[in-house]
Amino acid sequence: DQQVKQNSPSLSVQEGRISILNCDYTNSMFDYFLWYKKYPAEGPTFLISISSIKDKNEDGRFTVFLNKSAKHLSLHIVPSQPGDSAVYFCAASVNSNTGKLIFGQGTTLQVKP
């Protein structure tokens, strides 16, 4: 049972435009959500997170929105840059004592110059 789903395997946007990456979850007990970015041949790097008690968190060009009633979160990148081309994973925190996360399948973002 996939508790965290990223239904779009890929996304292509033009440089300078907005990129919106989506993530759905099923477990209402998740207390934190995180986004990671992964380049080929590198490990994922942490991008931004949001607590379940908030609905928005912003860090520079990156904003994460959380809609608890819809069990949906999204990552907005504005403006998109070619260097943002990577695989993006959303993740949800299961257990605050162990730090265990459940990851989605990932979305490959391509930003065209």
Binding site: Y32, E42, P44, S51, N97, K100, Q105
Partner: protein, 115 residues
């Protein structure tokens, strides 16, 4: 900066071999994790450890075991390698703060091929 180091970037082994993947972190993190990444499946948790000598099964532990004898080192063991264990293996660590706001930090991965 947190440094998570995986011993090999690329590894080729034969079916039936016992394979060891090593991971070391330098930030005194309590939690350590092993994942495998496969196309279309994302990151799947194999095992994790929240303290020395403690281990918990993740979502896909079959065919694997782990060892955590020291806080900074977490080893993944393939008891008898099979071709379906060909994958990218990622190690991660995080600090235990009692909350969930400490992200996991990842190594660069080991690309393992079983022939």
């Amino acid at each position: 900066d947190v440094k998570v180091t995986q011993s090999s970037r690329y590894l080729v082994k034969r079916t039936g071999e016992k394979v060891f993947l090593e991971c070391v972190q330098d930030m005194d993190h309590e939690n350590m994790f092993w994942y495998r990444q496969d196309p279309g499946l994302g990151l799947r948790l194999i095992y994790f450890s929240y303290d020395v000598k403690m281990k918990e099964k993740g979502d896909i532990p079959e065919g694997y075991s782990v060892s955590r004898e020291k806080k900074e080192r977490f080893s993944l063991i393939l008891e008898s390698a099979s071709t379906n264990q060909t994958s990218m293996y990622l190690c991660a660590s995080s600090k235990h703060t009692g909350g969930s706001d400490q992200p996991q930090h990842f190594g660069d991965g080991t690309r393992l091929s079983i022939l």
